[in-house]
């Protein structure tokens, strides 16, 4: 216990407080305290008003210092920014052997800007040429491509060579052929038969996170079955890819049509709504040519963003995001090694929020050359984001061709934990019995993220290969005893994924004598609830259900998509709770009225349900994080809601919370606020997710990044009107779902949590 009056030598700790205490106070301003420290500080602040006043003064100091940030502006004697940059260029020129100090500054700047632009353009072209040469074997149909890499037509010049008249009718936007004979035919008839997506001449791009009609990031069709229980595939148990039937011949290259198409894409006069259709048309197999890839790459790199008009058509924004979505779809339809490369290369630098969309596009590719390209990307020089996208895509494709590369990542000691975790999940999805031993070994990894991923992989493997089910269950039973709750939770989910063989282990886990940790029992109970559709409160009830089920001799049904909940109970009453839970409550203006009333009522019921599942000896730490423009923890520390006083205190604070009329939703900042508290194992988000699709995509990506550092389970409650009863939805969603609902669903699925919505 810190004595708040303990002084340290003069100069080290100003004021009457000890150095340790001032450090606590200071760090609290940055949200850099551990939960224990927060609690300790909260106690001390409550006891000592002077300490509280000191903290407020420090807070003001911090604000004052931050307010003096714009130091550069107006600094006398510094000259203009342009002058400074010009001077820098002169210094750089002097620093290099080839400098031209005699030139005027403005002239130099202009020349350098031009040179930089030209260099980068030519750099890209050369890079493409190299890739073409490197991959000529993988894509033999591109023989004529590899002959002309150095002579690629310059895209910006194309409009001068062809008829720039914008098409009357966009190819791909309507089922009928374009009325302009100068434009290429829509690609409908050329679709390869192995393409999993039924062709639609005017598809809503499902690869685009900004598209509210995107049903799923893994490219699944709308289904009632969650992906936690993958269906056995036709190639289950095989180590070798089955012989492919002879691929359908690629249509002949139509370079003239491609040039016209590219010209139409670049023409400023092209109607807004037609440009995405033109870009999608680049996916026509007739356009398997460097010019198409170069154009797609430029679109994905945002190089068209400034030169082309953007706007709205019938209330829908048409601009760079729309173009990128179309470009990703075109890549998926081209389904070649080069298209894989273009997609992966688009995940550069800060564009990481495109990851899910790129994964979805990659996951639609089925051509062996594409799968090999994804696999090769794992063994070559690649970024973390690219490797992660490739791993997820390989898992979605499920082609055994990717197995060796995925296994290599999994067994690479130097690979980052998040990649190893993703590789574990992919190994399970690929359904190769050779994965069993490595995945079992992964349960002993020192990194909890890898152990949790290995458990998930074993669940997928056991579901896919009946011969591996027993061994998987045995290993997962051991994982239930892991010291980390996140691993136990993943093991419970994996046992449910395996199906019947895993159920007895889950039931046994409900028994307190076998599993003393309430949180782990919760995790097992949740899975049994999802499997049976019944709230199986204890081991005896669960055993009865299982006996009935076995006697009936009916195979265990797949979990239903929507679980109706007793209206008197919280929809999260049987959710898996950890030991440290944060309720993240959206207090933006859009939550006012019935939504907020419902939020408060549901949070109260959820906290009471959580507390009811714990004895006073158990840990049930809760805090509330209110967020709108900025997040703030309602309590400085966590409260143990298993105790009556702790629970009452939290509920009292809940009642005092109110939405702020003018505030906007900022989920990203709220999620980032959690990074300071790694001990949190369960998050429950109540929100209408009323942000732009692009902002939601960034948030989703940020959450995925944070999962690399620590496992976190997120239950999401999406509030649309605040009036209807809530249900637990485990389905894959509907194309017409709003962007907010899709985001909340994906957030829950990504982390193994529950998605709750109004009926």
């Amino acid at each position: 216990m810190i004595d708040p009056r303990e002084s340290t030598p003069e100069g080290d700790a100003p004021g009457p407080f000890s150095e340790e205490l001032t450090e606590l106070v200071s760090a609290s301003l940055d949200g850099a305290l551990s939960p224990d420290e927060e609690e300790r500080l909260a106690d001390l602040l409550a006891q000592d008003p002077q300490l509280h006043a000191y903290r407020e003064r420090l807070r003001r100091v911090k604000r004052l210092v931050a307010g003096s940030a714009p130091l550069m502006a107006g600094a006398p004697g510094a000259g203009s920014r342009q002058d400074a940059l010009a001077e820098l260029q002169a210094r750089l020129a002097r620093a290099s052997a080839g400098g031209e100090p005699g030139l005027g500054l403005q002239v130099k700047l202009g020349i350098l800007a031009c040179v930089a632009g030209l260099v980068l353009v030519s750099w890209q072209v050369v890079a493409f040429s190299r890739r073409l040469n490197d991959r000529s074997e993988a894509a033999p149909q591109k023989s004529e491509v590899s002959e002309v890499p150095e002579a690629l037509p310059d895209v910006p010049d194309l409009p001068e060579e062809v008829d720039l008249t914008p098409p009357e009718d966009p190819p791909g936007d309507a089922p009928e052929a374009p009325s302009d004979p100068e434009l290429p035919e829509p690609p409908l008839p050329d679709t390869p038969p192995e393409d999993p997506q039924p062709e639609d001449p005017a598809p809503k791009d499902p690869t685009d996170p900004s598209d509210p009609q995107d049903p799923d990031d893994e490219g699944e069709v709308v289904a009632e079955v969650p992906d936690a229980t993958p269906q056995p595939g036709p190639d289950e148990g095989t180590r070798v890819r089955p012989e492919d039937p002879t691929p359908p011949p690629r249509p002949a290259l139509d370079l003239a049509a491609l040039k016209r198409l590219v010209a139409g894409i670049h023409a400023a006069a092209t109607p807004l709504e037609q440009r995405p259709s033109l870009i999608r048309s680049l996916g026509d197999p007739r356009f398997d040519h460097p010019l198409a890839y170069q154009t797609l790459s430029a679109i994905l790199a945002g190089q068209l963003d400034r030169s082309l008009p953007i706007g709205q058509v019938e209330g829908r924004a048409i601009g760079p995001e729309e173009w990128k979505a179309a470009a990703r779809l075109a890549c998926a339809r081209l389904d070649t090694a080069l298209a894989v490369r273009v997609l992966l290369d688009s995940l550069q630098g800060d564009q990481t929020s495109d990851g899910p969309a790129v994964e979805a596009a990659l996951g639609r590719m089925r051509a062996p050359a594409s799968v090999e390209a994804m696999a090769q990307s794992l063994t070559g020089r690649t970024t973390l984001v690219q490797a992660e996208a490739a791993l997820r895509a390989l898992a979605a494709v499920g082609d055994p061709l990717g197995y060796a590369a995925v296994l290599e990542v999994f067994e690479n000691d130097r690979a980052p934990a998040i990649l190893v975790r993703q590789a574990a999940l992919a190994l399970g999805a690929l359904g190769n019995d050779g994965s069993l031993a490595p995945l079992k070994g992964g349960l002993g990894d020192k990194r909890s993220i890898v152990r949790a991923g290995s458990a998930g992989g074993l669940g997928r493997l056991g579901a896919r290969l009946p011969d591996c089910a027993e061994a998987s269950v045995e290993a997962l039973a051991g994982a239930l005893r892991d010291k980390e709750f996140a691993v136990c939770s993943a093991a419970a989910e994996a046992l449910a994924a395996v199906g019947e063989p895993g159920v007895p282990t889950l039931i046994a886990c409900l028994n307190p004598s076998q599993e003393p940790r309430a949180a782990v029992r919760d995790a097992a109970r949740e899975q049994l609830w999802l499997l049976s559709g019944r709230p199986l409160a204890d081991a005896a009830l669960a055993a009865d259900w299982w006996r009935e089920h076995e006697q009936a001799g009916i195979p265990l049904a797949q979990p239903t998509a929507v679980l109706a909940v007793d209206p008197d109970q919280s929809p999260l009453a049987y959710a898996g709770w950890g030991e440290r839970v944060v309720f993240m409550l959206d207090t933006s203006g859009s939550m006012r009225g019935p939504k907020w009333t419902q939020t408060q009522a549901e949070v109260r019921r959820a906290i009471e349900a959580y507390a009811a599942r714990r004895t006073s000896k158990d840990r049930a730490w809760v805090n509330l994080l209110a967020f709108a423009d900025a997040p703030r923890f309602v309590r400085p520390g966590f409260a143990n809601v298993a105790s009556r006083s702790g629970r009452a205190g939290v509920l009292r604070l809940l009642e005092q919370l109110k939405p702020v009329e003018v505030a906007q939703t900022n989920l990203l900042k709220a999620m980032q606020a959690l990074d300071a508290i790694p001990e949190v194992d369960t998050l429950v988000v109540f929100s209408d997710a009323g942000e732009s699709p692009a902002a939601l995509a960034r948030t989703f990506d940020s959450v995925r990044r944070s999962l690399a550092r620590r496992p976190l389970r997120i239950h999401t409650v999406w509030l649309s009107g605040g009036a209807g009863p809530l249900v637990v939805d485990r389905g894959a969603g509907h194309p017409d779902d709003p962007a907010g609902a899709t985001f909340m669903r994906r957030l829950a699925r990504e982390t193994g949590g529950l998605f709750v919505r109004e009926r």
Binding site: V61, V65, G74, A116
Partner: protein, 200 residues
């Protein structure tokens, strides 16, 4: 060109010709120059020196472009270079005689006519605001270098403890404790203002 990340640009310098490398470093300067100047101004308290050191930092980036490794963000590397330059400058300044007024005349806070007044503020309020800003900057400048660095990085630059630790080459716990002490000292020095004002 602006669509490339910082890291892609600096990696693009590897093995590149002099001209191309200059263009790429120029692009990086476009992105970072202002903030680096602000950072250096916070460390040195002298705008002219800050401008000069910022340019030197980019020259160093250019000269040592082959040494950049992807283990760190480019901005972290850049700030580390800038910080080292600032420390050298401060060390040299101690050795050489100080020209009277050299560091203060470049402070925009001492040029109220040049400084942009707060929008909608009366002249009296603007003057009070400038006094306050000046006092804050003076207080920051009066801190010893290790404390000033963390204040500039964490409070001015709003960098995380982890990033500050990486730039300074110290453990995160050291950043936390230094920041606490620095804020404590600033609080002591600014206390009269804090108690008098209330607008802060």
């Amino acid at each position: 060109m602006c669509e490339f990340s910082d890291e892609a640009l600096i990696l693009g310098c590897r093995g590149a010709g002099e001209e191309r490398a200059r263009a790429l470093v120029g692009e990086l300067a476009q992105r970072h120059l202002d903030r680096v100047v602000g950072f250096l101004y916070g460390l040195t308290g002298d705008a002219a020196v800050a401008h000069d050191l910022a340019q030197e930092a980019f020259v160093r980036v250019y000269r040592h472009r082959e040494r950049y490794r992807e283990v760190a963000r480019f901005s972290t590397w850049l700030y580390t270079i800038a910080r080292n330059l600032a420390l050298n400058e401060l060390r040299n300044r101690q050795r050489r005689p100080q020209v009277y007024g050299a560091s203060t005349t470049s402070d925009p806070a001492l040029h109220p006519l040049d400084a942009a007044p707060a929008s909608g503020a009366s002249p009296v309020e603007a003057a009070a605001e400038q006094d306050l800003q000046h006092a804050v900057r003076a207080a920051v400048r009066s801190l010893q270098s290790p404390y000033r660095e963390v204040v500039v990085l964490c409070d001015l630059e709003e960098r995380s403890y982890a990033e500050a630790a990486e730039i300074l080459g110290v453990p995160i716990g050291t950043v936390r404790s230094r920041l606490s002490r620095a804020r404590g000292r600033l609080e002591q020095r600014l206390r009269p203002l804090l108690e008098r004002g209330g607008s802060a």
